[in-house]
C-alpha cells in the first residue's frame, strides 16, 4: 500500500488523499493516516515542484563537483559530508564509488559565484584532497522527466 501511494505522490504531489484513495481503490481515511505516518517517519520529506528554470529565464548556474576526501577514523565520510551539505549553496551530496568520493551539486547566481565557493569554502576544507568542477550546460531530463518534451499527442481525435 505504501509503495503504491508513494509512486503516485512522486509523480504528482498535488493529488489529494481522496484522489489517491479512489485511484487505488482504498479507504480515504486509511490513505490519509498512512501519508501522515510516512511524513512522521521521514519517508515523505517534502512536496515539491519540478521546474524548468531555463524557461523562466533564470540565469542560475549549477556545477557538479567531484570531491576527493580523506576518510576519518570512526566517522568515515559522514563527517566531512555533513560539513559540506550544511552550506546553503550545496543542493545535493552523494557518496560515490570510483575515482572520487563525494559528488556535490552547487548552485549560484553565476559562474564566478560557484567558482569562488569551490575555491574558498569547499577546497579549503580540512580532509578535502582535491576538487574537479563540471558546470552544467543544459539539462535534458531530471527526476525521470524530459524537460523539453517533443512527443505530442498525435492521435486522431476520435477513433473506434
Amino acid at each position: 500500500m505504501r509503495k503504491e501511494i508513494l509512486e503516485l505522490l512522486e509523480t504528482d504531489s498535488k493529488l489529494t488523499p481522496y484522489q489517491i484513495a479512489t485511484m487505488l481503490g482504498m479507504d480515504k481515511s486509511k490513505v490519509e493516516k498512512e501519508i501522515e505516518t510516512m511524513e512522521e517517519e521521514g519517508i515523505i520529506l517534502q512536496y515539491s515542484t519540478l521546474i524548468n528554470w531555463e524557461k523562466v529565464g533564470n540565469e542560475q548556474v549549477s556545477a557538479l563537483i567531484d570531491v576527493k576526501v580523506i576518510p576519518q577514523r570512526g566517522v568515515g565520510f559522514d563527517d566531512i559530508a555533513e560539513r559540506i551539505y550544511r552550506f546553503p549553496e550545496v543542493r545535493s551530496v552523494m557518496l560515490m564509488s570510483g575515482s572520487y568520493d563525494l559528488s556535490v551539486e552547487v548552485t549560484g547566481r553565476n559562474i564566478k559565484e560557484v567558482a569562488q565557493f569551490v575555491a574558498q569554502k569547499l577546497a579549503t576544507l580540512e580532509h578535502v584532497q582535491s576538487t574537479v568542477t563540471h558546470f552544467v550546460l543544459k539539462r535534458y531530463k531530471q527526476h525521470g522527466v524530459i524537460l523539453d518534451k517533443k512527443e505530442k499527442d498525435r492521435r486522431q481525435v476520435i477513433s473506434p
Binding site: 479512489t22 485511484m23 481503490g25 512527443e151 492521435r155 486522431q156 481525435v157 476520435i158 477513433s159 473506434p160
Partner: protein, 400 residues
C-alpha cells in the same frame, strides 16, 4: 455513360453504412480546444526499447518480405505468450499467423469460414468493424443485444435465441470495446457449451486481454471442445501501445489457420517486417512496461468511474479495456444529442453509444486512454454540463 457509372460500385459495398463515428469525428475535428475522451487507442507512445529495436533492425537490413506466416522467432514468442498467459497451446509452425493488426485477422477468419447465407452472431454494443467485415465476407450478421443490467455480458439464453441451422459463427470481443465488459470463467462456460452443441466457430478477438483489472483474462479457447473451433485473435496495439505498427495475429486449429494464410498470402503477402521485429522485442522484453501502463489505466479507471457516479450517472464497473460506458438515460437525451451538446457546451468529446449498436443507445463511451490531468479537466466540465442540464429542468418546472 451515366448508366455505367451507376454500376461502378458493388452494391455490397455501396450498401455498407459509413462508420457511425465518422460524422462525429468531423464535428470534433472542427472544434477548437477540445479534450477528447473519444480515442480508442493508448495515450502512451510505444515504449522506447521497442522503437529502438526497430531502428536496429533497419540498420541490420531487415527490409525484406518475411514468411507468409510471419517471422518464425516471433511466432515462437507468440506461442509462448499464449501458453504462459492464458494456458493456450498452439504450434508456431502451423497454428499461428502474424497479420496486419488484429483487424486483418478478423477479416481473414470471416472470409475463410463463411459461405453465402451463413449467419454470424455479433453481440451488441460492438466494435464497429465486425458487421461490415461479415457482410463483405458474404455472411448475414445477426446481432444479439447485451444490457447494462447484465454488465454487457453475453447471456446464454439471449445467444440461444439467435441460433438456427444457418448459424456458422460467433464473434466475441472481451474485454469489450466499447463497454469495458469482461467475460469471466463462469460466464464463458455456458457460451462454450452452446458453441460445442451447435457446432459454431468462435472468432474471439482478445485484443484487450492484457488490460484486465479484476482477476486474469480467460480465453474461450481454453474450454473443453473449444480449441478446435476457436480462432483466437490478438495483437500488440493495445497492451504494448503499438497501434500504428499494425501487428496482430491469429491462432487456431491448423486446418483453419492454413486456409487463412492462403488469403493472407495472396492479398497481403506478409505483415511488415519492421513491425514484426518491434513486436518480437515487445514480447521478449516488454512485460515490465506493459505492467506500468496497466497500473496507470487501472488507477484512471477507478478515478473515472467514481467521478461519473459522483455526478449522478449510472455506471457499472468496467473490468477491462480502457473504456467506461455510463448510462445517460437520466438526462432524457439520446446518446447522440448528449455527445453533441457536451461537445458544443463544454468541448469534451465522447462517442455516442449508439455508434456501437442499438443497445448502446442511452450510453456514451468514455476512453480513459488520456492523461489524468485531461481526465480530471474533462470530467469537471462534464459535471458542469450535467449541472446546467439539471438547472434547466428545475427552471422549466418552476415556470410551469
Amino acid at each position: 455513360m451515366n448508366v455505367k457509372k451507376a454500376n461502378r460500385i458493388s452494391p455490397l459495398v455501396k450498401n455498407l453504412p459509413p462508420s457511425g463515428i465518422r460524422k462525429f469525428f468531423d464535428l470534433v475535428a472542427n472544434t477548437k480546444g477540445v479534450i477528447s475522451l473519444g480515442v480508442g487507442e493508448p495515450d502512451f507512445v510505444t515504449p522506447w526499447h521497442i522503437r529502438e529495436a526497430c531502428f536496429y533492425s533497419l540498420e541490420q537490413g531487415y527490409t525484406m518480405y518475411t514468411s507468409n506466416w510471419g517471422l518464425p522467432e516471433l511466432r515462437k514468442e507468440i506461442s509462448k505468450f499464449l501458453y504462459e498467459r492464458y494456458g493456450l497451446g498452439y504450434n508456431p509452425e502451423n497454428e499461428i499467423v502474424v497479420t496486419v493488426g488484429a483487424s486483418e485477422a478478423v477479416d481473414l477468419a470471416l472470409r475463410t469460414i463463411i459461405m453465402p447465407g451463413d449467419e454470424v452472431i455479433i453481440p451488441e454494443p460492438t466494435y464497429v468493424s465486425y458487421k461490415p467485415c461479415a457482410v463483405l465476407a458474404g455472411a448475414e450478421p445477426v446481432t444479439v443485444q447485451t444490457s447494462y443490467e447484465n454488465e454487457f455480458k453475453l447471456k446464454e439464453e439471449d445467444l440461444n435465441e439467435k441460433i438456427n441451422s444457418r448459424t456458422k459463427a460467433l464473434i466475441l470481443c472481451y474485454p469489450n470495446n466499447p463497454t469495458g465488459a469482461i467475460m469471466e470463467k463462469e460466464d464463458l462456460e455456458g457460451i462454450a457449451r452452446i458453441a460445442v452443441q451447435n457446432d459454431l466457430i468462435v472468432i474471439s478477438d482478445e485484443i484487450y486481454s492484457e488490460l484486465t483489472y479484476k482477476g486474469s483474462h480467460v480465453s474461450i479457447a481454453s474450454f473443453p471442445g473449444m480449441r478446435e473451433r476457436t480462432i483466437v485473435i490478438n495483437g500488440f496495439s493495445k497492451a504494448w501501445a503499438m497501434t500504428g505498427w499494425r501487428i496482430g495475429f491469429a491462432a487456431g486449429p491448423r486446418d483453419i489457420i492454413e486456409e487463412m494464410v492462403k488469403i493472407h498470402q495472396y492479398t497481403i503477402l506478409c505483415a511488415p517486417v519492421m513491425g514484426q521485429m518491434a513486436a518480437l522485442e515487445a514480447l521478449k522484453n516488454g512485460s515490465e512496461e506493459v505492467e506500468k501502463m496497466v497500473t496507470q489505466y487501472n488507477q484512471r479507471r477507478r478515478f473515472v468511474v467514481s467521478k461519473l457516479r459522483e455526478m449522478g450517472l449510472e455506471c457499472f464497473e468496467p473490468k477491462g479495456a480502457f473504456y467506461v460506458f455510463p448510462s445517460i438515460k437520466s438526462t432524457g437525451m439520446s446518446s447522440e444529442e448528449f455527445a453533441e451538446e457536451l461537445l458544443k457546451k463544454e468541448k469534451v468529446a465522447v462517442v455516442p453509444g449508439s455508434a456501437f449498436g442499438r443497445s448502446g443507445e442511452g450510453h456514451i463511451r468514455i476512453s480513459y486512454a488520456a492523461s489524468l490531468k485531461n481526465l480530471t479537466k474533462a470530467l469537471d466540465r462534464m459535471a458542469n454540463f450535467l449541472d446546467s442540464l439539471n438547472k434547466n429542468i428545475v427552471d422549466r418546472v418552476m415556470e410551469n
